[in-house]
């Protein structure tokens, strides 16, 4: 796998059974059935979309960043990547990607990690893990912080150098770029549309993204 695999989707947004715009700083939680297609559109470009997936039959079987990159032996997510759970379940497969590279090492911002990374006075700033916690608390299936694990950052560019350095680079996404997945089992999707203002992951201007779902038959 090369790390960049640009593939366009043939699915027509007019035929989607679900469409929702998620403003920056908002969480979104939604079930996706096996065989359905799930697309995230970076409407304005360079917007990090922090995303977690759970096996809908057992939320403790959840997306695993390490199992996903270990299985494909590549740290970047793109077309062809299977999103693997802690139990080895293939949750979804990326089937189209017009951005070409997505991160799963950088994790989600938190008020606490912002204090470490930027300044102790940053505690008040909105952060993804607050959005995640709000969403799982309201979802009310007994989910707690224990269920908030290392996530995917769609449209985010976090290269690793041969010397083992990790850097946050300007995004390689543009307005209208998207990533599309096919659910391989019933999953629960959890998104925080990232409110981070302290680094270039959102080009210092967090913007809305769109999510769409198609039935498998709509292909």
């Amino acid at each position: 796998m090369s790390g960049i695999n640009l593939v366009e989707s043939k699915l027509d947004p007019a035929k989607a059974i679900y469409s929702q715009v998620i403003p920056a700083g908002e969480p979104w939680i939604h079930g996706i059935e096996r065989g359905q297609y799930f697309r995230i559109v970076d409407l304005h470009g360079n917007q990090a979309v922090d995303t977690l997936f759970y096996n809908a039959l057992d939320y403790s079987d959840r997306y695993s960043a390490q199992d996903t990159i270990q299985q494909q032996r590549n740290i970047y997510l793109t077309t062809g990547t299977e999103l693997i759970s802690t139990n080895g379940t293939v949750l979804l497969t990326i089937v189209a990607d017009t951005c070409g590279r997505h991160d799963t090492l950088g994790g989600a911002c938190a008020t606490e990690s912002n204090m470490v990374r930027y300044a102790l006075e940053k505690r008040h700033m909105h952060a993804c893990r607050n959005s995640f916690l709000k969403a799982v608390t309201e979802w009310d299936h007994g989910m707690t912080k224990r269920d908030i694990t290392s996530n995917i950052n769609f449209f985010m560019n976090v290269p690793v150098t041969p010397e083992g350095k990790l850097t946050f680079e300007d995004g390689i996404s543009d307005p209208g770029k998207y990533v599309e997945m096919r659910a391989e089992t019933d999953v629960l999707a959890l998104i925080s549309n990232c409110p981070q203002l302290n680094n270039p992951c959102n080009a210092y201007n967090p913007t809305p993204v769109q999510v769409l779902v198609w039935d498998g038959a709509g292909k």
């Binding site: 590549n74 606490e112 041969p162 946050f168």
Partner: protein, 238 residues
């Protein structure tokens, strides 16, 4: 910081699991006895295990995809669980993850206790879960782990490759507990280790008392982020 303060020591067999609550003010030294060891590890705040080692926070606070002397391990709450105060290896893997039963069966063949007694094939995933279970924790507490003594290189295109021979016999890493830390370890082989033979290596562990990190502590001053991480950790105990 002398050797006379060693509290206890023991050998962990290859393929074994181990856990201990490292008390704040002590340090765990792990020694690779034969070379080529791998120690998978996850860490929790013993008093509130919902606070646990966080791979991304550790990597992005220090802008690294490797761990070595001077780096620290962050929890998801902005606090430092452990600091790496000694290290003769120079590269420990925080991204490669752990092995599963499926991977171990495919790589080394099935091997049950019935036929092989205590030499049966263990895997990292199950070892973590069993050891976590002893402390009342379970699958929802399983998070991305560190692999001490192993190195995974990342190429320009993102490709990951295991670097054989990263750790030699006698190599050591020492973790100073900055909180009361539940450490869950296992000595299963690294999931990307190309060695076709099942031969997990033993390590030696010793625990000693150490002095609290001062203002000029190497981990504290290694970068401004870690200075703030120590401040947040010390506030927790006020």
């Amino acid at each position: 910081m002398s050797e006379i303060s060693v509290l206890w020591e023991e050998t962990i067999h290859g393929g074994a699991a181990w856990s201990h609550v490292l008390k704040r003010g002590t340090a765990l030294r792990i020694t690779d006895l034969q070379g080529g060891a791998n120690v998978g590890a996850v860490f929790y705040n013993f008093e509130c295990p919902a606070e646990r080692y966080n791979m991304p926070d550790t990597l992005k606070a220090q802008h690294v995809a490797r761990l070595a002397k001077g780096f620290v391990l962050y929890s998801d709450m902005g606090r430092i669980l452990c600091s790496i105060i000694e290290d003769t290896v120079g590269w420990h893997d925080p991204i490669g993850g752990t092995s599963s039963a499926k991977l171990v069966d495919a790589k080394y063949g099935p091997s049950r206790y019935q036929e092989h007694r205590n030499e049966y094939h263990k895997n990292g995933h199950d070892s973590f879960l069993v050891e976590l279970g002893k402390w009342g924790l379970g699958p929802r507490d399983l998070v991305a782990n560190v692999n001490f003594f192993s190195r995974v290189d990342v190429a320009q295109d993102g490709g990951m490759s295991f670097a054989p021979g990263n750790s030699k016999a006698g190599d050591q890493v020492e973790l100073r507990a900055e909180m009361n830390v539940l450490a869950i370890l296992n000595t299963c082989q690294h999931p990307l280790d190309p060695n076709p033979k099942y031969e997990p290596k033993p390590v030696h562990v010793s625990i000693r008392r150490v002095t609290a990190p001062g203002p000029d502590d190497a981990c504290r001053i290694s970068r401004p982020e870690n200075g703030r991480g120590f401040t947040l950790t010390e506030r927790y105990f006020l």
